[in-house]
């Protein structure tokens, strides 16, 4: 089960902007063990979606992979020809987009869109494709009779199920889901996550789940990769990163949103400031300007990935003091702006 099946090393993705370029993803490394769900978590602009897009090599026009490797089952996705890459898409690597409404074509029935994938990409015949459509709808729990419906006839949650069915159409090995439940209500959110996990177990696929919501990671993921401003801040098993956060950013996030299981009287503590501009990132640790624990070295030297426990890494100069910092991070006063 722990066999590594996707291994991202020093991935760098840049965007051409005006005459220069900015590195939205700057030296990101992580592994996806076979048959696991890895949560890629961070705030808007941290580079999580850019990583997900780079893995499919379907990127914005001005984006390009400027360094690193993405080893998928022995092949480097960053070095594959467009033709070879295209052969992998959907058959081995599939994508579930955030907004299923925008990814489904409103003028075709859902069956037509599934058929397109099954017949053109999968090379299935008409009868086989019909059978597979029915299988897929059963798998995601939609009545087969609704195959002939148009996207607007489905509710938001149903549409997201259709998007899952589309992604699974050709039995991929890796599914990349970009904020698959973000636009949905809590009840539908939960039902879609249950579905995704059941299917992942049943089919033995690996999933990269991109999200800004730690609760989603806590509910469904096996491993966590926390990103901040184009870097990986912390990674490890979901349990370790949640119960023993070892990067000050992850520690701060723990106090930043309400927990229904917690006491009612708690005061939420924001992390003051905002992530840095990637066009002109600060030298050293990118979280240092917002970090209550920063010391001199943080402002000049990029912190290395420190292994705080076996398999649990934090990119922090003070990772060795993580237990003590964690204790201090619990207090509201630690996070109050000094100014």
């Amino acid at each position: 089960m722990t066999e590594t099946f996707l291994s991202v090393r020093d991935l760098k993705v840049s965007y051409r902007v005006g005459r220069g370029s900015l590195d939205a993803v700057d030296g990101v490394s992580f592994d996806v063990p076979r048959g696991s769900i890895v949560g890629l978590v961070g705030e808007s602009g941290c580079g999580k979606t850019t990583v997900a897009r780079a893995l499919t090599r379907v990127m914005a026009d001005n984006a390009f992979i400027s360094g690193g490797r993405m080893l998928f089952d022995g092949r480097d996705l960053a070095a594959l020809s467009e033709r070879d890459m295209n052969a992998l898409r959907w058959r081995e690597i599939a994508f579930i987009p955030q907004s299923a409404m925008n990814s489904l074509d409103p003028v075709y029935t859902v069956e037509y869109q599934l058929n397109e994938v099954l017949r053109l990409r999968g090379g299935l015949g008409r009868a086989q494709a019909r059978k597979r459509c029915e299988e897929l709808f059963e798998m995601v729990g939609i009545e087969v009779g609704r195959l002939r419906d148009y996207p607007h006839q489905f509710s938001g949650g149903m549409r997201q199920r259709v998007a899952i069915a589309l992604a699974l159409a050709l039995n991929p090995k890796l599914v990349i889901a970009d904020e698959p439940v973000t636009a949905l209500d809590v009840i539908v959110q939960r039902q879609i996550l249950d579905q995704l996990r059941d299917l992942q177990r049943q089919l033995g696929i690996s999933v990269i789940l991109v999200t800004h919501d730690i609760s989603v990671v806590a509910y469904i993921c096996d491993r966590t990769v926390v990103m901040y401003a184009g870097h990986v801040a912390e990674q490890g098993t979901m349990e370790a990163t949640l119960t023993q956060p070892s990067h000050p950013y992850s520690m701060g996030l723990r106090n930043a949103f309400p927990d229904l299981q917690g006491a009612a009287s708690g005061v939420l503590t924001p992390i003051e400031g905002a992530p840095p501009s990637l066009a002109d990132p600060p030298p050293g640790c990118r979280f240092a300007p917002r970090c209550p624990f920063s010391i001199e070295v943080c402002a000049s030297v990029t912190p290395p990935q420190v292994e705080v426990e076996p398999g649990h890494f934090a990119a922090c100069h003070r990772a060795g003091e993580a237990p003590a910092l964690r204790e201090r991070a619990r207090h509201v006063s630690t996070w109050m702006a000094e100014a």
Binding site: E43, V216, F257, T269
Partner: protein
């Protein structure tokens, strides 16, 4: 803590059997006899005491936003009445209506959609002052005060900036400042942090709580997330398909939800905890078509406890200890 309500008499709002029904399908469908009615708000009654904060909780389509719009007189009720300070809101006209507009305000969900991108922050905040006829000379000071109120440090630096030059959290504070600049008594906040990143949400929620308490505001907080509602409201009203399912102290609903729908909502709230229940939610899949809700109790086709009576009789909102519940089990 909250200051006590300024006067113990009349509630600020009394909502009696409020209805907002939309006819859907165009004139053509009507001719073919196929038009139908969506009951966005269907016989909702509650009172809002002065200084009280109430969370309107439910999924999309439950009528929570429509209810907020009715209170602000952005929609005209198709039935029932809404009394503000004893006056029927739907009768307000002319001067009285202008005064009402200044006394009640809305904080929008997406700050980037809520402001004109071509306006500077100064212009955004001056607009309500102009509409209310505040003399120009006083604008600058009121704008700076409002920005200080929402804790934007050194407000003067923001005045000549444009919305795109601010972060989401900063802009949401500007939107809040705009809602507060005329010193309203009542605000509706419609999912005000759902578009913001987690690390800045807390800041905006804290400002909201703090300002409300300092100004003694009466507030409605609309959300589908009970954890957020719990952070700002002592009372919660759970809505489903245009009707009130449960109404009571937020803590009671969090710890012991009574209505089967509230139970599902509580169980579904995401928690950042690795050890949590993965049991299936106690609710059937898929909300019904709002044009064609079930007979009797609108929740019955998703309810694990439904029995015969639920199909034949609409449950009334009845007292159950500290709260009110619309369910035949109580």
């Amino acid at each position: 803590m909250r200051p006590p309500a300024t006067d113990t008499g009349e509630p600020l709002f009394s909502i009696r059997e409020a209805r907002l029904h939309y006819r859907v399908g165009g004139a053509l469908s009507a001719l073919r006899g196929r038009s139908s009615v969506v009951k966005a708000v269907d016989g909702v009654s509650f009172a809002i005491a002065r200084g009280e904060s109430i969370g309107l909780l439910g999924e999309s389509g439950c009528g929570k936003t429509s209810m907020g719009r009715l209170l602000l007189k952005l929609e005209k009720p198709t039935g029932g009445e809404i009394l503000f300070d004893g006056e029927d809101v739907s009768r307000l006209k002319g001067k009285a209506l202008r005064r009402y507009r200044a006394r009640t305000q809305l904080i929008f969900q997406n700050p980037f959609d809520a402001v004109n991108p071509r306006f500077t922050i100064r212009a955004i905040l001056a607009e309500p002052l102009e509409n209310a006829g505040v003399p120009r000379a006083g604008h600058e000071a009121r704008i700076v005060d409002a920005l200080e109120l929402v804790r934007l440090p050194q407000p003067a630096q923001y005045l000549d900036r444009y919305p795109h030059q601010l972060s989401g959290g900063q802009l949401q504070r500007v939107v809040m400042a705009r809602a507060l600049i005329l010193q309203p008594e009542f605000v509706v906040a419609d999912e005000p942090v759902s578009m913001l990143d987690v690390s800045v949400r807390a800041g905006v929620l804290n400002v909201f709580r703090d300002v409300r308490d300092r100004l003694g505001l009466t507030a409605i907080y609309i959300s589908h997330d009970l954890a957020l509602v719990r952070y700002v409201c002592e009372r919660t009203i759970v809505m489903y398909l245009g009707k009130v399912m449960e109404d009571g102290p937020t803590e009671d609903i969090v710890h012991e939800p009574l209505h089967p729908y509230s139970k599902a909502l509580v169980a579904a709230v995401p928690v950042p905890n690795p050890h949590q229940s993965h049991d299936p939610l106690p609710i059937g899949r898929g909300a019904p078509d709002p044009r064609n809700p079930p007979s009797g109790c609108v929740f019955r086709d998703r309810c694990p406890h439904a029995f015969d009576r639920c199909a034949s009789e609409v449950p009334a909102l009845r007292d159950a200890g500290t709260r009110q519940v619309a369910c035949h089990l109580f």
